[in-house]
Every structure is written in structure tokens, then in C-alpha cells.
């Protein structure tokens, strides 16, 4: 066997193993739908049969009765913001979840006064295990009627400039904003209750704000009434497959990028012409190899 053939075989093997690893090895990045670990959103994706969008270009033209879950961890282009606004004004529901990210740029673009404070919301008393995971027990009557009693946040912030009628959930009176980041309440630091979720009508659609996207991760979704809360926000009447998650504004590691590229490639090759081309290439290569071998024997 020639050296070039050995190299070719090794290269092919490496490519195949890499592709298999990329495809099969689960993501470990926060909020990734492929991540089955504590910080992924695989459970949410499967529960709500959510479609992952790698670009806001994929937003449906008819957004009515569809919910876009946006976690704003990367800056938005004006084009993206415009698409989000169209989505909402045409009847879609935007569930904007943020804590320390770029949610305020979306709110500014949409013309809403509400803002994410970006300050850590701590609750040393009403919490799960420690003050970074505040328990929320005050909800609007509508949510209380739907049976939501308590939910748990995880490294959350709060909302500000929200009208009383728009707020749907508040933190407890013992919560505070840790302005000086010393993890304890000081006299100058504001004390709760603070709004942590709010709902606004915009055009024909709705914008819902939640000051912590972590309630959706695998390890948090089943804590207390978090699932019911998420279901309420996404839309209790929504049929499976009507939920869209924006993956384009989440930080990704190289493996996630590769997986997305691989998925796109697979999608591309599932189209008729590329599939035909690929089959032709495989046929030609195999035929050439077989013919060559046969002639060699003769």
C-alpha cells in the first residue's frame, strides 16, 4: 500500500471519527438544546418541541400563536431587532429572558420603558440553598389562579420601570440588589420586592420579560412551579412545535459551532440536487476504484 493511500485512509478515518464525536458528544455550553447536562435546555426543547433558530432570518412570516424564546447573551444587529419587532407586532409572543446580557437593547428598540437592572438579585431568606437562588412567591392573580405558587431563580437580576399592572411576579421583601457586590445587604442597597417578570402588549403580539433565563435549564425546570411558569409564559394553549428558541444570541464553543455547521450541511445535502450530486460523486469514485482494480487484475 502506498504512503499516500495510508495518509488518505487516516485522514478519512479522522474526519469520520470527528464527525461522529461532534454529532454524538453532548454539548456542555449554557442554554444549548443539545446539552443534556444541568445547564442545557434539552428538556425544554423536547417538552415544547421547540425549534432552534440559528438566525433570526428563520423567523416565520406568520408569527401568530408562536412564541420566540430569546436569551440575550450576545449583542443584536439592527436587522435582528427589526425582525424581532416585526415578529411581535404581527402577533407573535416574544419571551425575552436576560440577567446580565443585552436584553435592554431589545427593549429600547421595541420602545418599552422597562429595563433589566443588571444587578444581582439576592434573597438570603426565601431561597433555594443560598441567596443566589431566590424563591419567588408573589404572583399576579392570573398566575395564582393557574396554580403557580413558588418558583426558583438562579443568579437573577430584576426589572425596573415596569408599570404595576404589567408585573406578573415579584421577589420577596427580604430580597435586595447587591450593588456593591459584597453579597450582603447594606443600608444604601435597595430592598425588595422587585419585579422579576412582566408582560406587555405590543402591536398584535406580546412581550414577556423574565429577569433570569436560568429557570429554563434542565436542572431548574422542574424546581417548584418553574415548569408551570414557563408553560404559562410560552402559552398554555400553544400546540407543540409552535415554540422557537433563538440560538443565534448565545455564546457557543467550537464544538457547538461545528455541530451547527454539520446540521446545516446535512440539511443542505438532504435537498434533491445536492443529494443527486453527492450520489453521482460517490458513484463515480466507487466505479473508478472498482474498474481500476479490475483492469489491474486483467
Amino acid at each position: 500500500m502506498k504512503t499516500s493511500d495510508v495518509l488518505l485512509a487516516v485522514a478519512a478515518l479522522i474526519i469520520v471519527i470527528s464527525l461522529v464525536c461532534i454529532w454524538l458528544y453532548p454539548s456542555v455550553q449554557d442554554f444549548m438544546a443539545a446539552n443534556r447536562l444541568w445547564n442545557g435546555i434539552r428538556n425544554l426543547s423536547s417538552e415544547f418541541d421547540a425549534a432552534n433558530l440559528d438566525s433570526l432570518d428563520e423567523l416565520p412570516e406568520l408569527p401568530q400563536e408562536k412564541t420566540l424564546v430569546a436569551i440575550s447573551y450576545l449583542p443584536y444587529e439592527d436587522e435582528d431587532l427589526s425582525k424581532m419587532r416585526n415578529f411581535v407586532t404581527q402577533g407573535g409572543t416574544l419571551l425575552l429572558m436576560d440577567d446580565y446580557g443585552y436584553g435592554n437593547s431589545v427593549l429600547e428598540y421595541l420602545g418599552l420603558n422597562a429595563r433589566f437592572t443588571g444587578e444581582s438579585l439576592l434573597d438570603p431568606l426565601f431561597c433555594y440553598k443560598n441567596q443566589w437562588m431566590p424563591k419567588i412567591t408573589d404572583f399576579s392573580p392570573e398566575l395564582e389562579e393557574s396554580g403557580i405558587k413558588v418558583m426558583v431563580l438562579n443568579h437573577a437580576t430584576s426589572l425596573t420601570d415596569v408599570g404595576e399592572s404589567n408585573v406578573i411576579a415579584w421577589s420577596s421583601g427580604s430580597s435586595f440588589l447587591d450593588l456593591d457586590e459584597d453579597e450582603s445587604w447594606g443600608e444604601e442597597e435597595p430592598k425588595g420586592p422587585f419585579p422579576v417578570a412582566a408582560k406587555f402588549k405590543l402591536g398584535k403580539g406580546t412581550v414577556t420579560l423574565v429577569s433570569d433565563p436560568s429557570i429554563m435549564i434542565n436542572s431548574m425546570m422542574r424546581k417548584d412551579d418553574n415548569y408551570s411558569f414557563i408553560k404559562y409564559l410560552i402559552g398554555p394553549e400553544l400546540e407543540p412545535g409552535q415554540t422557537l428558541t433563538d440560538r443565534s444570541h448565545l455564546p457557543k464553543d467550537p464544538r457547538d459551532e461545528s455541530r451547527i455547521a454539520l446540521t446545516s450541511l446535512r440539511k443542505f445535502f438532504s435537498l434533491p440536487y445536492p443529494l443527486l450530486g453527492l450520489t453521482a460523486v460517490v458513484f463515480i469514485v466507487v466505479s473508478r476504484y472498482t474498474l481500476k482494480k479490475r483492469l489491474f487484475k486483467m
Partner: protein
């Protein structure tokens, strides 16, 4: 100089390394906000300061005499993150805190009432209420002790008492301070109570105070709400009638009417029964000394008279449509069941959607009322409430039902040809409607491949359009027509649907056909050239190729060189036939590349080469059978057989050439 540079560069390198380390470690060091942590791996941390502050805040609400606020705060206690050993203490604190807040409010109110009773010389009632207040005060002190115990347990658990200062100690002291202030408040109530009791005692000891007696008679004893009833009675003191004294008539303990006694102490009057839709009302007459009577007489309360109250009750049954649409009217049906024949002429009803008032109307016993659902109403289940306010003898009645508010999904009824041609266009016409009605004036977008048209439906929901087929590569196949409808009416949902159509691309198909023809022609030419090459390889002389030894079980076979001539007429028929067969086999091998394997029989070779020979296969089969007969039997071929074999060989050759 070099030393300085060396020294500086070392320092710079050190600074750079430290900077890189800080940059890399910043998330770990908490310099960047962490967006989440694994809840299962999270550290369990309790905050004594927060718990004690929560206690203080709750006790502040007790001091404010705001029972609702206290309850709202302490009801959250089960959600607090506290050590297991403090669960009971915190639970006790919450239970006793809520109890004491209610007691404080009650004691405060009753002390005021007690003062009034005493002022009116209502001795017996004062004694009864004073006893009740005393019991509640005792209970409140007990609760406060419980609160103090729970606080001490909490303080010990967090070692607050072990410290002389600090936030924890301060928080603990603040709770104790609140407890002390509540105790002072209770002490104050206790002293007020003592003062009142002194007043009662004075009243009891006053020997010159004359007792009074009051009678009451009510007629009729059964009456409808709103009816007038007659009351009368006599006010006397120690056998002597009291004239010109005001007597209050109490309904369920509240002053409702009054009368003044005549010269004989007799009082009477009528009162209209209030529209209280209760089955029984307690009526009492009350006299208490006023003006000059103060210090002379004691108050008196007549025996209770139980008045039976009548009114008409109804049950209201609602029926609503299963689904209602925003911007559309929906019908609510209702039926009042009064359980008796006397019915009101009409009844006012108020209809609410959730908490929003929609409409009011006067309805009959059975009614149907149309209501308009606001266009902006959210999709989902809503409560419709029909409330009939009280009307004279008819008690109020309320009923609710759930209605699902949804949007109607449009249906596209479209005439679509089964096959479309490229180039060309297809006519699309149809109607868009739903169970609510036609989708009028709705923008419609129809796209098919690269073609797209926008149109608007008519008032009847119809549309008529022609889509020009865009040029594509696909020769023939199914293609989707995407239809998007954005209705203007709020009761219609947006629609995105697709239909399939078979598209024949005449240009592509023609092109492919032309290419196939060209390829066919080229292939034929190439085959011809190859045949010529093969034929040219045949040796010119009549030398019969010598048989070659084939390696047993070998994979490869060397194609023997073709004999120069097929056969020679001078040979025996047997030799001629065999020679012809060998020649034919070599010809087939050369043309088709089918190799004769060492272990292969003649018939197996025929089967293998049959596909490649096409129509000539049947001639080769006959030739094979003839040779088999020669080889495997005693048959002696005739001249006729030899001629036939020549003919067969010729036919095979001609067939291959073609």
C-alpha cells in the same frame, strides 16, 4: 544599561503573566457575573440575620395592628431557607404571630365597644364583653411568650446571643425589642381594661340606680324583605312606666329604627324590613339612659324576637358557545329557576368577561343575550359571569361559565390543475373562508418556487390569479405551492398552507432528451469502433489457437487469441463445430469481457454472458447445446449439423456487430 533592560523586561513579563492569569481567572474570582450555578451542587447557606429581620418586620405589622399584612408576611414562612432544626420554631413563630395580630385588632376594637356600652350603662353586655376581652388578652400574652421562645431558639441556633455586637446580635435585639413593645401594648390594653372594669364595678355598686325592663312584640313574625312590620312594647322601671323615653330597635344587633314611649311607657311603630336576603333576623328593643336619666336608670334590652324573612331565590343556569372569536358576537343563554310560579316581569342582568364589564340587559326567565368579544381579547379560556342584582323580593343570583376564545382557521378551497408546464402559467382561483364566514380583503401571498404573487381576497373571500411558472432545472416532479393568508378580521387566524402540483419542465426535459440521444449516438459509434478493434485483433491465418492450461481455482483467465478462421470445410463436422464454438466464445469474451472460469461449464458460461449478448443469446444457447451433445454423448454430427453451427455462429457475430 543591559542590566536595567533585563530587570525591566523581567518585571514586564511578570506583570504580563499576572494580567493574563487575572484575565483567565476573572470568571472564577467573580469579577464577571455568573449567570447560573448547578442547584444540586450549590452550597447550602442559611442567614440568621435575614430570618431575624423577617421576624422583626412581621412584628412591626403586629404593632401597626395590620392583621392582613402580618398574615401575608408570615404565610411565606414555609418557603424560607432555614435549618431543619428551626422548622418547628419558625412555624410556631408564624402561627402565633398571625394569631396575636388578629387578637390585637380584636381587643382594640372591643375595648372601644366596651367603652360605648359602659357609657350607655349597658351593664350586662359590658360584663360579657369585658370577660371576652380578658380571655383574648390572656391568649395574646400566651402567643407573645411563644413568639419570644421561638426567637430565643432561633437566636441560640445562630449563636446570636453569644455575641455582644454585630449585625446578627443587632437583628436579634431588634426582635426582642419588638416583642417588648407588643408586651407594652398588651399591658396598656390590660390597664385600659382594668379602668373599664372599675367603671363596671362602680355601676354595679351604685345603689341609687334603678333597673329598667323593656318588652317587645313584633307582628307579623314572618315577612318578605321590604315588607313593613309592626313593633310595640312597654318600658318600665320597678313597676313604673317610663314616658317620653327613646327606644331603639336593633336588627341583628345594629340600630335600625327608634320610637318614643308614650305616657304609659308604651311605644310602637313600623319598620320596613331591609333587603337583607337572610332567612332570619333577630329583633331587639334597647333603652339606655340619656340626658337626665344618666345616673338614674340602668339600660335594658328586650328579649330577642326571631323574625322569619322571606324572599325569592333563583338558580341561574348558563349555556355558552364552545368557542367564541375576538371581534365577534357570542350568544349566552340562561335560565332562571325560581322554583315557584310567581315570576318577575323582567330581570336586570350584568355580564362580565373575566373582571371586565360587558353589558347589562333586562331579560326574561329564559334568555339569550349576544355579547361582543373585544378584538384585543387574549386567546384562551375566559370566565363569563352573569350577575342578576337583587330586585325587590328576588335575591341576587350569579352564575359563571368558561368560554374558549379562539381564532378561526381559514380554509382555502382552491381549483388547482394537476399538471403545470414550464414555460407557462397556471390559473389559481378559489375561496378562503372559515366557520365564521369568508375571509374578506385579506392579503394573500402565493409562492411557487421562484414565482410569487400577492393579491387580496374579495369581500366574499374569493380570489383569482395566474402564476407564471419560473424557469427551473428540475425536468419533472412535484412542487409545493405555498399560500399565506393574513386576514384583517381579528377572529381569523393567519394561515400558511401548501398544495402540491406536478410540474413538467419542457425545456429541461427536452434538453435531457437531447443529451440522451447524443449520448446514445456517441455510445453506438464507440461500440462500433471497439468491435472493429476486436475484429482487427483476429489472426489472419487458419491457425487454431492452442488450448492453454488454466490454473485451477485461479481468479483470472487469459483471453485466448482468436483463431484466424472460424472453421475449415475440409475438417470433420465434429472438429468444425468445436472449432466454431471456440471461435465464438473468444469473440464473446473479447466483446463482453465475460471471462470463462476454470470450473465453469459451457452452460454456466452461456448464462453469464446471456445478458451481454442481447438477442444473439438464443443462437449462442443453441450452439452451446449442440457442443454439449458432442462432448457428453456418442452422437456423431452430420454435415448438416456443421452447416447449422456455422449459421448460428454467423448469426451471433452479426448480432454482436449490431
Amino acid at each position: 544599561m543591559r542590566n536595567i533592560i533585563n530587570h525591566l523586561s523581567k518585571r514586564l513579563a511578570l506583570v504580563a503573566i499576572v494580567a493574563v492569569l487575572v484575565f483567565c481567572a476573572s470568571p472564577v474570582l467573580g469579577l464577571e457575573p455568573v449567570s447560573q450555578e448547578d442547584p444540586e451542587a450549590a452550597e447550602l447557606v442559611f442567614s440568621g440575620i435575614s430570618l431575624l429581620r423577617y421576624y422583626s418586620s412581621s412584628l412591626d405589622s403586629v404593632l401597626k395592628k395590620d392583621a392582613e399584612e402580618t398574615e401575608a408576611k408570615l404565610q411565606k414562612a414555609p418557603f424560607a431557607n432555614i435549618p431543619e432544626c428551626l422548622m418547628e420554631a419558625t412555624g410556631n413563630f408564624a402561627a402565633k404571630g398571625m394569631d396575636i395580630s388578629r387578637l390585637v385588632v380584636n381587643i382594640d376594637e372591643n375595648l372601644g365597644i366596651l367603652g360605648e356600652l359602659l357609657a350607655q350603662s349597658r351593664l350586662e353586655e359590658s360584663l360579657e364583653l369585658a370577660s371576652e376581652i380578658s380571655d383574648k388578652l390572656t391568649q395574646a400574652y400566651g402567643d407573645l411568650d411563644g413568639i419570644e421562645d421561638a426567637t430565643e431558639v432561633t437566636g441560640e441556633e445562630f449563636r446570636a446571643t453569644a455575641r455582644s455586637r454585630g449585625d446578627l446580635r443587632r437583628s436579634y435585639d431588634e426582635v426582642l425589642d419588638r416583642i417588648e413593645r407588643i408586651r407594652e401594648m398588651l399591658d396598656l390594653y390590660k390597664s385600659l381594661m382594668a379602668d373599664t372594669l372599675l367603671g363596671i364595678e362602680e355601676l354595679q355598686l351604685a345603689e341609687d340606680l334603678q333597673s329598667t325592663e323593656l318588652t317587645l312584640k313584633v307582628e307579623p313574625m314572618t315577612a318578605f324583605v321590604g315588607d313593613y312590620i309592626h313593633f310595640e312594647g312597654i318600658l318600665a322601671s320597678e313597676g313604673e312606666c317610663l314616658a317620653g323615653r327613646k327606644v331603639d330597635i336593633l336588627l341583628d344587633g345594629s340600630q335600625y329604627a327608634a320610637s318614643v314611649t308614650g305616657a304609659d311607657g308604651y311605644y310602637q311603630g313600623t319598620l320596613q324590613l331591609p333587603y337583607w336576603y337572610v332567612y332570619q333576623v333577630e329583633v331587639q328593643a334597647l333603652y339606655y339612659p340619656r340626658d337626665e336619666d344618666i345616673g338614674v336608670y340602668l339600660s335594658s334590652l328586650s328579649p330577642e324576637v326571631e323574625l322569619e324573612v322571606l324572599f325569592y331565590e333563583a338558580e341561574l343556569e348558563l349555556t355558552v358557545e364552545e368557542e367564541a372569536y375576538p371581534g365577534q358576537e357570542t350568544t349566552i343563554g340562561g335560565e332562571f329557576d325560581y322554583g315557584q310560579p310567581l315570576l318577575p316581569g323582567g330581570r336586570k342582568v350584568e355580564i362580565y368577561l373575566g373582571s371586565d364589564f360587558l353589558v347589562e340587559a333586562i331579560v326574561q326567565e329564559t334568555f339569550e343575550q349576544k355579547i361582543l368579544i373585544a378584538p384585543e381579547t387574549e386567546i384562551g379560556y375566559h370566565t363569563i359571569t352573569v350577575s342578576a342584582p337583587p330586585m325587590g323580593r328576588y335575591a341576587p343570583v350569579t352564575a359563571s361559565a368558561y368560554v374558549k376564545i379562539t381564532r378561526a382557521t381559514p380554509i382555502v378551497d382552491m381549483d388547482l390543475p394537476r399538471i403545470a408546464m414550464i414555460p407557462g402559467s397556471i390559473a389559481l382561483n378559489g375561496r378562503i373562508y372559515s366557520e365564521v364566514g369568508p375571509v374578506s380583503g385579506a392579503p394573500i401571498k402565493i409562492s411557487m418556487g421562484k414565482s410569487q404573487i400577492n393579491l387580496v381576497s374579495s369581500e366574499e373571500g374569493t380570489f383569482d390569479a395566474r402564476v407564471k411558472m419560473a424557469m427551473e432545472l428540475s425536468p419533472i416532479g412535484s412542487q409545493d405551492i405555498q399560500i399565506q393568508v393574513i386576514p384583517r378580521e381579528p377572529w381569523h387566524a393567519m394561515l400558511s398552507t401548501s398544495r402540491s402540483i406536478v410540474v413538467v419542465n419542457m425545456v429541461s426535459s427536452g434538453g435531457i432528451l437531447a443529451i440522451l440521444i447524443v449520448l446514445g449516438v456517441l455510445a453506438r459509434g464507440r461500440l462500433g469502433r471497439r468491435r472493429k478493434v476486436v475484429l482487427s485483433r483476429m489472426p489472419a491465418g487458419g491457425v487454431i489457437a492452442q488450448p492453454q492450461l488454466a490454473q485451477a481455482y485461479g481468479d483470472s483467465v487469459v483471453i485466448p487469441i482468436l483463431a484466424a478462421e472460424k472453421s475449415e470445410s475440409k475438417h470433420e463436422p465434429r472438429s468444425r463445430i468445436l472449432n466454431l464454438y471456440r471461435w465464438t466464445v473468444r469473440l464473446i469474451q473479447a466483446i463482453t469481457n465475460v471471462i470463462v472460469r476454470p470450473q465453469q461449464t459451457l452452460r454456466e458460461f452461456f448464462r453469464e454472458s446471456r445478458m451481454s449478448l442481447g438477442p444473439s443469446a438464443r443462437f449462442f444457447e443453441q450452439l452451446t447445446r449442440m457442443v454439449e451433445r458432442l462432448l457428453y454423448s456418442n452422437y456423431q454430427p452430420t454435415e448438416e449439423d456443421a452447416v447449422k453451427s456455422e449459421q448460428l455462429s454467423h448469426n451471433i457475430e452479426e448480432g454482436i456487430k449490431r
